[in-house]
Chain length 189, copies 2
């Protein structure tokens, strides 16, 4: 997706060969028009699937997932990393380690919103080691629903998550795949 | 906002006289079309102000704030409750206690995205005691920016946050204000 690659080149900040900071448009400040274009691109990529739900993980997945939900007219569920008084009982949970935040979280989705037979598109901002997506796939499986695809805004193609998921038969659609990066240059696949 | 009140009546769940669960369309599952309508309504309410930024707090403020950002063509910043490897240095911070989650968080915004002179619309999902909004107002003040208004999806009018803010001269636009609620009935102002 050219618009996204341009944003990454112009506003991304390579902090190390593995850490890309995109706080200017995705992870802290959000470019709403870009998110709308991202949602439309996901809808185009998944136009052949009959999805019933969109599932993401708080917080940075929410904006692109909501824009996809708007295009497809589907409910968007965001898995919670923290417990809330109002989210209790009857939860589908999985453990996810975030290398960027260096924390292990239990992610939770209420059974009220994910049912057996649901056809789920999983959306996330980044794919690196694949921890978050594996947690979301586990939640979908626990609900006896089906993950019909995974949509990723930025995939770090030099880390193993995307390859492992695809090798396991998961359909992964990444709008930008970075093959390598340093402070001078970001190379896209 | 009638559409929102209808959603609250039809899908809200009063857990106690002070706790309203709206996980079906706002806090866990997101109704994207409703969020778009909410964004448009905020834009209408704030059509007289010349805002330059929209500020919210992860996670449930992100969808309505992003939809407002889309309508107004403005950047949306979400304050972080947790630290990230990529969010560091040069932070504007405030302490916020959440009564619903029963945790005290330090919320943070990078100085990179909020500058002196910015005219900021603050958006949040709920207003009860006003803790989150006060934290966001503190962040705006630290940046030497101006909060031109606060947009709230659901205000619990029977708690003191909204009154205190308005008494202090803060412009608060709440799309639904609940005066009282019990399991049988939700009464809107």
């Amino acid at each position: 997706m050219q618009l996204l690659q341009d944003k990454i080149r112009d506003f991304g900040n390579v902090l190390s060969p593995t850490v890309l900071k995109v706080d200017a448009f995705l992870n802290h400040q959000i470019d709403a028009a870009l998110m709308k274009a991202v949602g439309e691109e996901f809808a185009e990529r998944f136009k052949d699937v009959q999805a019933t739900k969109i599932l993401t993980l708080e917080s940075s997945g929410i904006a692109p997932a909501t824009m996809l939900g708007l295009v497809l007219g589907l409910p968007v569920i965001f898995a919670r990393k923290r417990k809330s008084l109002t989210l209790s009982g009857n939860l589908l949970s999985a453990t996810v380690h975030s290398f960027t935040k260096n924390v292990t979280s239990e992610i939770s989705v209420s059974r009220d919103f994910l049912q057996a037979g649901d056809q789920v598109i999983i959306i996330d901002d980044f794919l690196a080691n694949g921890e978050a997506v594996r947690g979301l796939l586990s939640v979908v499986a626990q609900a006896e629903a089906t993950a019909v695809g995974v949509g990723i805004v930025i995939e770090k193609g030099f880390q193993h998550g995307g390859k492992e998921l695809r090798d396991n038969g998961v359909r992964v659609e990444s709008l930008a795949i970075i093959d390598s990066m340093d402070t001078d240059h970001i190379r896209f696949r």
